[in-house]
Subunit: 153 residues, 4 copies
């Protein structure tokens, strides 16, 4: 969710990881306590647009040892704001509605990815939808409306 940092732009530039499994990805450390805690979640731009990702760890699982729906929804919410970044240069925003369908299970160790697209960026509302996948399998579809709140300072 939305940070409200006046150095938002600089943060993104400094966020790129240079080594390890996530070299070439970015991570907005310290911006969002719940996402730091649930994730961390990463993002980068590729030929198909912006993609978000993380690797499923035992702490992301539910009692059945597959990924908790709350973890997937948190990751999807993260992806909304990462993918809407350019449309939110001047405004803060909050998630107003969020819908999801749980299609496939995620096992520990899997790489999980999300892509979200803006269907329409209106004056006060941004309509988005997206999908979480793992490998080539769909995991969750989602749609959401972001509501613009105050201007960024």
């Amino acid at each position: 969710m939305d940070g409200g940092d006046d150095a938002h732009q600089d943060k993104w530039a400094r966020a790129k990881i240079t080594e390890g499994e996530w070299a070439g990805w970015s991570y907005l450390h310290g911006d969002d306590p719940f996402e730091d805690h649930a994730g961390p979640f990463y993002f980068r731009d590729d030929a198909n647009g912006r993609v978000c990702a993380f690797r499923a760890e035992p702490r992301h699982m539910n009692g059945g040892n597959f990924m908790h729906g709350g973890c997937l929804m948190t990751f999807a919410d993260f992806s909304l704001f990462v993918c809407a970044r350019e449309a939110l240069r001047e405004h803060h925003a909050v998630t107003a509605t969020f819908n999801s369908e749980f299609i496939g299970a995620v096992q520990p160790g899997s790489l999980v990815e999300a892509r979200a697209e803006i269907v329409k960026a209106g004056r006060s509302m941004i309509f988005m939808r997206g999908m979480i996948t793992s490998g080539d399998a769909p995991v969750m579809t989602f749609s959401a409306v972001l509501k613009k709140t105050g201007p960024r300072n």
Copy 2:
């Protein structure tokens, strides 16, 4: 989400907390790594049915210092399975669809509560809806379909 424990019943009986802020509430420790991590979340029965609750801590917040939507959705998903417990004595289940509307913000320190009701428990699907509140203010409405999977052993 759903535990799959053959001693499910006993766990609930042993789960009651006897002292501190949550005396009289129950907590299913160790059942679900992501919920342990995101919560812990508590539940008890009162005159109006079953209620789930937790207290908002800084780690539940987003970058704007109000509660992350992913935290609220994780808590709502928890409440679905806690409130559907009696309908799931013989089957495991997963969340198939989850919809939510974000209505009010939650500040650190607030008590957050959720109630979920079964609208219909069908042969294979359980239709539910609920609301998260804080004080008397609505925070999030949600609806969901749980899909029964295999039988409990």
Copy 3:
């Protein structure tokens, strides 16, 4: 959906039916072509609030001879605006999001009722949810966000 009539109030007063099956109910004839065509749908206030109703006819059915989901969703959308009327005295509004779960089938000849409640009427958005029932059986749950547009003249 929203009429945009400057004599909105008067219309409601004149809309009451005085004889036949729907005596005591109101019907906003001519306000909305698609609702006239799909319905007509009726409403009245009772001890539990405002209720909307209509009787299932063969033309409301799908190919399986139970009520078409589109008919139920049209009726639910009608109920949103009827039940939000007092919150929309000064503004027009449109449905921004609509979610539904189809829980039970409706046979021809059945009386179908809907009740919708405002969870929160905000400055620009109205959060609502409701249920369609027939007899005592749940037929459809729904939630929606209405977005205020321009002022009524």
Copy 4:
């Protein structure tokens, strides 16, 4: 919605229109009373898959003289079953959940199109999502779960 006709296949073959505005499109006349009444709605296959369409008439409008949300949702529900046809050769199905976001208004006279894709066809549930457009503008996004019911005879 789902017909339950043992000559289902033949009907589709016979449904092609040979003259007028809709030459080359198909129309399942008489299969579904509410869709006949709300539509008629047409479909055909093109290079991008299956597309559904109809032209906005005054009777599809709401009181504000733009297309009624119930009409759009009825059309979307139609598109789900038309686009899932190959996955439903052996089973009947019903809409279990339907979510929608209303993104743009449709004026009388406009051509309205819908495309729906199967994200996953499971053993008992079919997960779908789609979009209604008019010209190049998005009108409504939607997602749905169809639940298989009995076998076709």
